[in-house]
Subunit: 180 residues, 2 copies
Amino acid sequence: MKYCADCGAAVELRIPPGDSLPRHVCPQCATIHYQNPKLVIGCVGEWQGRVLLCRRAIEPRLGRWTLPAGFMENGESTTQAALRETLEEACARIEIDDLFALVNVPYINQVHLFYRGRLLDTDFAAGAESLETALFGEDDIPWNDLAFRSVARCLEAYFADRRAGQFSFHEDDLAPAEGY
Amino acid sequence: MKYCADCGAAVELRIPPGDSLPRHVCPQCATIHYQNPKLVIGCVGEWQGRVLLCRRAIEPRLGRWTLPAGFMENGESTTQAALRETLEEACARIEIDDLFALVNVPYINQVHLFYRGRLLDTDFAAGAESLETALFGEDDIPWNDLAFRSVARCLEAYFADRRAGQFSFHEDDLAPAEGY
């Protein structure tokens, strides 16, 4: 951030009174521009023991497989975001179940939330941001071709819980590594 | 948002190609400025059956009681945010337990997360944003003098679970209403 989004003046990076962190502050209109982590929300959509994955048509990680997920929008709830992303990326209608996983990705200022869900039918298809969509059982998951580590952690926990016969909530923190 | 934070030109509100929602787009440098919900993170810190509340020294809701909570910062995890806010607002050291509640507040573009936690000692005190801090049992909670509805929902669920002898994860969506 170089310019004030409210008045267009060049901003300064300094610690406001009563604060402890440097912020982008406008010397002209005094607005403090806070920058905060973003929520990425997705869903593990299941149909008869298999889960729905999308192969990415966009960067980053074009061509790799992922769960339907994306940035939460203003004005929606976390479950609405999961429903919308699943519809947009996989043209799939789901019934949302419990929140399943929270994965912190602090080095890129993101928090990833994954719900469990059940596909209402198998009329899914690749959305604009997907090359293809498909259902995978645990043994078929393209583990070495997944787009993001948060998705891998979520799917590992999902199938482990499934084998154990009980789903519980999982929280995980990712450290920086090669790739995503 | 009126001006591009990257180049200072006046932004336009329009739907970018491939998108479905209006965004602030810079006609000069082509940057798309996305605006997304913010995470507010707090903790129900317990000490021998009572929970730690803070009376707010700042607006909004100055003078009302709340759980230690605040906006998550870039570069931290959700549990780090809960620890930091509890330290900043109540000068209290806690051990974080499971995530307890997620409350969607879509009409102000916020998602509130509350962890359960245990106070490590009773050397708490009002931080810069608090007028006072105190421990409350279920019967003493100032229910009519709480700052935010998300905090009320969280505390109601907390004490209900406590009575039932088992804590589980709670998710809730708030609709617009008078006040917070």
